[in-house]
């Protein structure tokens, strides 16, 4: 009787639960995961006809996608020679086969003519574990090598985002300075290349030093320092048209331009006639200049927080260089941000505003470190002797920086967890001052 009563009570209870919940018996809680690279396969893209084949030439689109994904450190790609000849079949049918090869995701597709002079990449992302197609999409491109490459980067971006939930930054660009030759006949070049270092394009060439390139928030302009007039001056140059303007050529040092997120203002370093470096704010349209710091120490290398409220900068007001922050327009004194290290310079803020990358010194070597702004926790990411000029990818997953290899300066990337690093190709000469551009609009 009491048994029966209990049953009814339980029945009522049971009906209140969802069917799914009522069926689940064993409850398991997962409280951690791993960061192993995810195994993927990128099948060669199939050319639909002879004309497409001819247009592609030796361009290996699948290879570009594969290298992009691998460069992130988040993926491990199946070696091309291990790729089966036949990659066709519905997602549900082929899933088990790919799983057996240890592949969690397959990217495959074909290229065909589109319109009068263009081509289209129709690609598919197959989730081999779940046996489903996760993306089918078409990317259209004109028939130019740079455009082909960009289309492949865009495919990699979409795959990256679908699997990791973070926007891919493969179809972005980096700017850097290349120095060739020995003084006094040195040649300086300001170069813009794809984020993988391919397709470098010289946007400015000079016999005098070029330095400190900085992107406008919309990715249309570069600001930089040029000594072409015999002294340091700051210029801005539109990449598409080549149009350039000199925005600051005051007495003494004009350096370290940093475009504010609103695109209207620029933070920069000026010495004036006193020779002491301080931070200033320049309104580009009106040329109105506001002094931000006034300290006997060196204040330089400003960089904006993503919300445009805070400026981080390097100062040696406490003796050794450390990173400080201040709020332009506020009367509060600059506050020191870096504490755990003896040396912290050239700060850069992550796109989400939560991390600070800077150059630190460890047993005589200069290395890239990252600090969690909330906790203050610092970790060193690189292991070189002279690593400098860190710059965040717009998705915050990687940093590009200038390092040295066998005495020559090269560019390299490192994941923000420090686990994956990669060297970018350098044709010749020295490369320095890399700046990772924003997402394409």
């Amino acid at each position: 009787m009491s048994d029966r009563g209990r049953r009814q009570w339980l029945l009522a209870l049971c009906l209140n639960l969802s069917a799914a919940a009522a069926n689940a018996q064993l409850r398991i809680e997962v409280t951690s995961g791993v960061v192993d690279p995810i195994p993927v396969a990128v099948a060669p893209l199939v050319a639909a006809d002879a004309e497409t084949l001819a247009a592609l030439g030796t361009l290996d689109l699948a290879g570009i996608i594969r290298r992009d994904l691998e460069s992130s450190g988040r993926f491990r790609a199946l070696a091309p020679e291990r790729m089966p000849a036949d990659t066709s079949g519905s997602a549900a049918l082929i899933a088990a086969d790919w799983r057996a090869r240890g592949v969690d995701y397959l990217v495959r597709g074909r290229v065909s003519r589109e319109g009068l002079a263009g081509f289209a990449i129709d690609y598919e992302l197959v989730g081999a574990l779940v046996g489903q197609t996760l993306i089918t999409e078409r990317v259209v491109t004109p028939n130019q090598t740079s455009a082909w490459r960009n289309a492949a980067h865009r495919v990699a971006d979409r795959v990256y985002e679908r699997i990791l939930g973070v926007r891919g930054a493969f179809a972005t660009r980096v700017a850097y300075v290349s120095v060739d030759g020995a003084p006094p006949t040195q040649s300086y070049q300001l170069i813009v290349a794809d984020a993988d270092g391919e397709g470098p394009r010289v946007v400015l060439e000079s016999r005098q030093p070029l330095m400190s390139p900085a992107w406008s928030p919309d990715g249309e302009w570069l600001a930089y320092v040029s000594f072409e007039s015999g002294a340091a001056a700051i210029y801005v140059q539109q990449l598409r048209t080549g149009e350039r303007r000199r925005v600051s050529a005051r007495v003494g040092v004009n350096g370290a331009p940093a475009w504010a997120p609103d695109g209207q203002r620029m933070a920069l370093t000026l010495s004036g006639s006193s020779g002491n470096l301080d931070l200033y704010l320049l309104e580009l349209a009106s040329q109105k200049l506001t002094r931000l710091t006034d300290d006997l120490a060196i204040d330089t290398e400003p960089v904006w927080s993503p919300d445009g409220v805070t400026l981080y900068f390097t100062s040696d007001r406490a003796g050794a260089p450390q990173v400080y922050r201040m709020r332009p327009g506020s009367s509060e004194r600059p506050q020191r941000v870096t504490f755990g290290v003896g040396y912290a310079a050239r700060p850069r803020v992550s796109p989400d505003g939560r991390q600070l990358a800077f150059v630190t010194r460890e047993s005589g070597a200069f290395r890239i470190a990252i600090q969690e702004l909330e906790s203050g926790q610092v970790r060193t990411l690189t292991r070189g002797r002279l690593d400098e000029s860190p710059s965040f990818a717009p998705n915050g997953a990687l940093l590009i920086y200038a390092g040295r290899e066998r005495g020559a300066a090269t560019l390299a990337t490192v994941s923000v967890d420090g686990l994956t690093g990669q060297r970018l190709r350098a044709d010749r000469g020295e490369v320095r001052d890399p700046a990772w551009g924003p997402f394409a609009r």
């Binding site: 048994d3 398991i28 809680e29 951690s32 960061v35 779940v130 996760l134």
Partner: protein, 253 residues
Amino acid sequence: MSRARSAKSWRPVALSIAVHAGLVVVVLGAASLTREPPPPMRMTIEAMVVPVSRLPGTPQPAAAALPPAEPEPLPEPESEIEPAPQAEPPAPVVPAPTAAPKLRPPPVVPPKPAPVAVPSARPAIVPTPAPAPREDPLRAVRERELQQQMAAEERAASARAAGLGAEWAAAIQARIQRAWIRPPAALAGLDCTVDVIQVQGGAVVSVRVRDCNGDAAVRQSIEDAVYRASPLPSPPDPALFERNLEVRFRPND
């Protein structure tokens, strides 16, 4: 002669006794042997008992599965048995043998905590056989089945009591954690619950993300993780096997 005769007459008696004794042994042995075939049955029942012990340690939920049968206690077992078989057909045959050997150890363990759990498990089922009695010739068979069910449930209950369920859950947890490639989008505060269905042998056949505050990539990573972890570890006692798992992803950082 009479001696011999009596001696002789002894023989059949002795023989008879021996034979009977042997029979008893055989019957007993058979009875214990019949434990082996039931595994499929037991697993079936276990699967259906699911709602029963949703909350580890609470055998009552069994009643929850019974409700439909309330007026007629008898059908319960059948109605319980029906659904599971569909999914199990392949499993019963194979698992049975492996199940048998493993069956023994747990009963040994239970002695201490088991006794408590067992009685409570029994009452729920005992009423069942009572109502529809005598006439049915299948009754005996059915009763034996019930006995076996009870035995299985006792074992399961005692195994649970012995903490084997927790041990199994920990094994599954560890395996899924190793298989979860956590995407950067899986931030602290993530809380996702998935309903997983596995078959005997641990192969995952269904993963459904139920409640989740993560984005598409996070959900994908979670689905992937469970499939990647397949086959899931087997329980230390086959009687513990559950088809339905509820896995909650809640990173503690």
